[in-house]
Point group: C2
Chain length 426, copies 2
Amino acid sequence: MKKLSEMTSEELLAFKNETEKQYLDFKSLNLSLDMSRGKPAPAQLDLTMPMMNILDGDSLKAENGFDCRNYGVLDGIPEAKKMFADVLGVQPENIIVYGNSSLAIMYDVMSRAWTHGVLGNKPWSKYDKVKFLCPVPGYDRHFSICEYFGIEMINIPSNDEGPDMDMIEKLVSEDETVKGIWCVPQYSNPTGVSYSDAVVKRFASLKPKASDFRIFWDNAYCIHHLTDSPSCILNIFDECKKNGTENMVYEFMSTSKVSFPGSGVAVLAASKENVESIKKGLGIATIGYDKINQLRHVKFFKNAEGLKEHMKKHKEILAPKFDVVIDQLEKNIAPLGIAKWHKAEGGYFISFDAMSGCAKRIVSLCKEAGVVLTGAGATYPYGNDPEDSNIRIAPSYPSVEELSKAMELFCICIKLASAEKLLAAK
Amino acid sequence: MKKLSEMTSEELLAFKNETEKQYLDFKSLNLSLDMSRGKPAPAQLDLTMPMMNILDGDSLKAENGFDCRNYGVLDGIPEAKKMFADVLGVQPENIIVYGNSSLAIMYDVMSRAWTHGVLGNKPWSKYDKVKFLCPVPGYDRHFSICEYFGIEMINIPSNDEGPDMDMIEKLVSEDETVKGIWCVPQYSNPTGVSYSDAVVKRFASLKPKASDFRIFWDNAYCIHHLTDSPSCILNIFDECKKNGTENMVYEFMSTSKVSFPGSGVAVLAASKENVESIKKGLGIATIGYDKINQLRHVKFFKNAEGLKEHMKKHKEILAPKFDVVIDQLEKNIAPLGIAKWHKAEGGYFISFDAMSGCAKRIVSLCKEAGVVLTGAGATYPYGNDPEDSNIRIAPSYPSVEELSKAMELFCICIKLASAEKLLAAK
């Protein structure tokens, strides 16, 4: 196959016409598939169903004798704190076990920084301007929180080791209104990149001008591997200890894609000082989170090792789907030289970069033919991908067969949009 | 028995010495009882234990076919919305089913009013001063939320029909910075008073100067009756409709004291316009609440009628405890003319008013002898009961035997503190 950029106008036109025919054939299939979000497939949810009656007949007492059925315990039952501390490589005293959503924790932490400030510092709302650094492409829901509070977002380009640390170090050390950064350090959403050791070390040794600068370390995919020999990122808190910067990091994780999205357990890890301060605020808003569900999770997974073992079952279901995506791109798109992508070794997404100016067109073509992708631009602050190039592929929910069909369509749409673009430029 | 106020100094001294002896005897029993919070007793929690495995083998699909195990559905599954709408006498479209805590909803609503304003109005944080009206005595955790945001609280005296509506109408109509009021309209915390029809009607017809004035209608005890023929307060939304004031009310309830505190389901009821606006904000902070737990609750209680039937079982356990409190007060304290109390027909508390200046002393005497009561002053904003008179009695958690013992001690402490006070004044 010839690269599209090397085709003559005539060849391109023929290519486009041929692709258009394929597209119309697909449209007539009346597909209806949603690949817009990183939703686990039903088969993955089935893995956790035995959790449903695991507390039957039990006393519902925590290991310290506390009756999980009643009021009390703000920061989580001891065995849940221990399990998640072991996953994240911190101490139980560094853990708060919340409710069902790590996004809700992030919002809460941001909202309190906004209204009450961080560790005794001035509330962020009192600044004329507050800025956040946003490695791009990134997670749309992170960006929505910033936008909601009117926080100015600054795009930070990323490569295969993580975000551009030179730029981050410069901005953070020079500007007191830069108050935070969003990071998905392991299997980034959507790039799938895991931060290199050097990048983690540079994060831990940041010297921010703002004493209330915080790294929002959203370790959502810390145990969500897709290979048999996964490599994990460095423990950020271990690195921070070497630099005395433990207060600079809030780490988040949840079991949303381990047990059940919406019915899992979410966790914050932070320095003792941050934990104490956050607990004071939380105590105003609630008497405590769902301890019975915490107990349910500990009884089912037992410990950190159990959580990791369970994730291997998810991998068995997920990995073939990622393979379908990569295989089809390799086969149908690679020879044409019109796009790039990253083969993720974990997480929930494959990040796809079309030719500049083609992402919106591709997503819209797919949609018209019945396949809903994450909106083009969604992976950038304000929904604005300056290159109109990045598309987040979420292969988890459809079956392998459905996904295969959807990817065929996706490849056709890539070809069509790219041919249109090149022809227009001729 | 003679009234204490009618005793001579000598009689009082003898009374005090005799009571002191009884107190010391009690101290030697080394009691250890916590009556500080409205916690259900273990026997009440046992009532809901069959809920633990009620989803076993089920598909976990909501009635509309939605898989409750996965992401999605911000405002609650349809059957949960319906059940709670029926309890509160509104339509499902007026309901948002949240997570495990109505307090957390109240905090969230307040926090968003603070940062983003209410229905397009200016954020409350942009005012130099924001005021809330607080019927007293009231619920300490309501007051803590106001204090956290630096909202000035204005005490509103209450009587057996509810709060002083003349005062409320005046303050609300004159002062644009009065942005809200805390109400526990049915079986108030702690007075046990249910608002009269006239009071509810006057609330619904308030003409606030501030268009973003909101009534925080915390209907925590709407189905928590202690008699066989309970009388319910008027439906505030029905009354609001007559006045076109539906947007003025946020109503809250939860199953914390129906199923499990901390593992129940909490609900907001509001006008369609408020619901839509709140959902926009919520969508920034979370993808959704715990739908599996919502389903668990609906499968167990079935419907509003089922919820009400279940509460009768709670009543069987709770009512005898309230009787113990009232009986002992009637027997030991009434003849002495040194205190007042309200016999609640529902809810979780009995409000006790000692002689002025005695509440702290009574609570401290009880504590020294091993019975922890809610802190004196806790029922007032800033923990400041100007009369130092009100004590909230929470009889639910101890067994009848323990409670009986605790009330004996409580009565002794009342007598002792009152005698001390009267002697000091001689």
